[in-house]
Amino acid sequence: MSAVPAGLATDQQPPMTVPLRYFLAGFAFLLAGGAVGLAHVLGAAPGFARSRTSTCCSRAGSVSPSWAR
């Protein structure tokens, strides 16, 4: 039966700690993204998350940092 994992070797486990950290970071970003999405729906999101009708982008073009030139 597929439900029983065959050949369990306890001395060699699959890597779990590192992937788990990735998953936790992913969960945090999921929550943050949901919060920004909610703010967007409520019309409260600042910056580039605002709809493109605002003037943010043309203004942004003029403030390029000196090291970028």
Binding site: S2, Q13, P15, M16, P19, F29, G61, V63, A68
Partner: protein
């Protein structure tokens, strides 16, 4: 990225190339993504470059680490070949993303002779169809055969060969979109859709042949096969007409949910229905096997709740899509959305319940036993 860091070493049966590099990649990506999102919110171009650079470094470190973990190219099986392709897409899309960010302040794209929407199109194509969907296909090659206890043999090898049109098609579509070469993009889109359809048939066939007990994982994979089979001809039709259009970036407009919920969502949820109970089972019960009565992996979650969330999600997705395409009245969209949300809650409750009831979360915190160290 986390799933790949786990799957690649397990399936290729080798240790990950460097754990330090894997941790460093996570740190770079986490700081990069958080900073980049903050910079976008603050509309601060200066910080977009800085954090975008960190993000690119993190993604490249991740891709390098896993590329070194994979076996040599000539020993690739289908899964590893798809993972390698997805990694290459990660590298390319991170670079394109950085160019896009850079172009916000210093217009570099006109110099290269490409318009911004072209680069956005190529970037998005590589991300969704290269990095995400190719990873999904690679993983399903393993999971669908492993859990149905079948293998790809005989004439199915031809299907698997047709499926290799998928990565080639993604490459052609992305290149065609980048340089606005319409015939190339359309040909790539057709090849991609054909490959995706072949994969859907292959997946459906394996699930049909498998003489094993139905699990929530397999029933969700069955939804994936149906959704993919429905999505690919729709996308092909849309892309032949307009492969470069912004509206048709991910195929038909109403097909977005078919792809992101029906295919990607159900793959993730189906896999989590195995992965979460499996990890809990290994930690809690594997050492006691043979000494005392232990539950099976599939006994850890609630079967009825799994059936309810599967039905809610399937019903919700179908209703939502029918509502959006105008087949069903407009209220169907809302009803579908509500059913989907209810399904997500039931799904999350079921899996959180597994960890809560069997995971010994609290005692572990109190005793601090190092049994989770790998």
């Amino acid at each position: 990225m986390g799933a790949m860091t786990q799957f690649v070493p397990v399936w290729s049966n080798v240790p990950v190339h460097s754990r330090r590099l894997a941790n460093a990649a996570l740190a770079l990506v986490a700081v990069g993504v958080a900073g980049l999102a903050g910079a976008f919110l603050a509309a601060s171009v200066h910080w977009i470059h800085g954090f975008g650079g960190l993000l690119v470094l993190g993604v490249w470190a991740f891709a390098y680490n896993l590329a070194r973990t994979l076996p040599p190219v000539r020993e690739f099986d289908a899964t590893e070949a798809h993972f390698a392709f997805a990694l290459a897409c990660f590298v390319a899309l991170a670079a394109l993303g950085f160019v896009l960010a850079f172009d916000l302040s210093t217009p570099v794209l006109p110099v290269a002779g490409v318009a911004r929407p072209q680069v956005v199109g190529a970037h998005a194509t590589l991300a969704v169809f290269g990095a995400i969907l190719a990873t999904v296909f690679g993983a399903l090659y393993q999971l669908a055969t492993m859990f149905t206890q079948t293998e790809i043999a005989g004439r199915e090898r031809h299907l698997a060969r047709v499926e290799y049109a998928y990565p080639a098609g993604v490459l052609a579509l992305a290149t065609g979109r980048l340089f606005a070469v319409r015939p190339l993009a359309a040909a790539g889109a057709l090849a991609m859709a054909a490959g995706a359809l072949a994969f859907a048939v292959l997946l459906g066939k394996k699930l049909y042949e498998g003489r094993v007990e139905r699990t929530p994982m397999l029933s969700r994979y069955a939804v994936v096969a149906v959704a993919l089979a429905a999505w690919s001809p729709l996308a092909a039709r849309e892309w032949v007409a307009d492969p470069l259009g912004r509206d048709a970036l991910f195929g038909p407009t109403a097909g977005g949910h078919l792809l992101f919920v029906g295919v990607v969502g159900f793959v993730v949820m189906g896999s989590l229905y195995h992965v979460v109970p499996f990890i809990v089972w290994v930690h809690r019960y594997s050492d006691r096997l043979g000494f005392e009565q232990v539950p099976m992996i599939d006994d850890l979650y609630d079967d009825r709740l799994a059936a309810v969330d599967g039905a809610l999600l399937t019903f919700g997705a179908v209703t939502l899509i029918l509502g959006q395409t105008g087949v069903a009245p407009g209220q169907a969209t809302i009803a579908g959305g509500v059913a989907l949300a209810g399904g997500f809650v039931a799904f999350a409750a079921n899996l959180v319940g597994v960890v809560y009831r069997h995971g010994r979360v609290l005692p572990e915190r109190f005793h601090g036993r190092p049994e989770n160290a790998d």
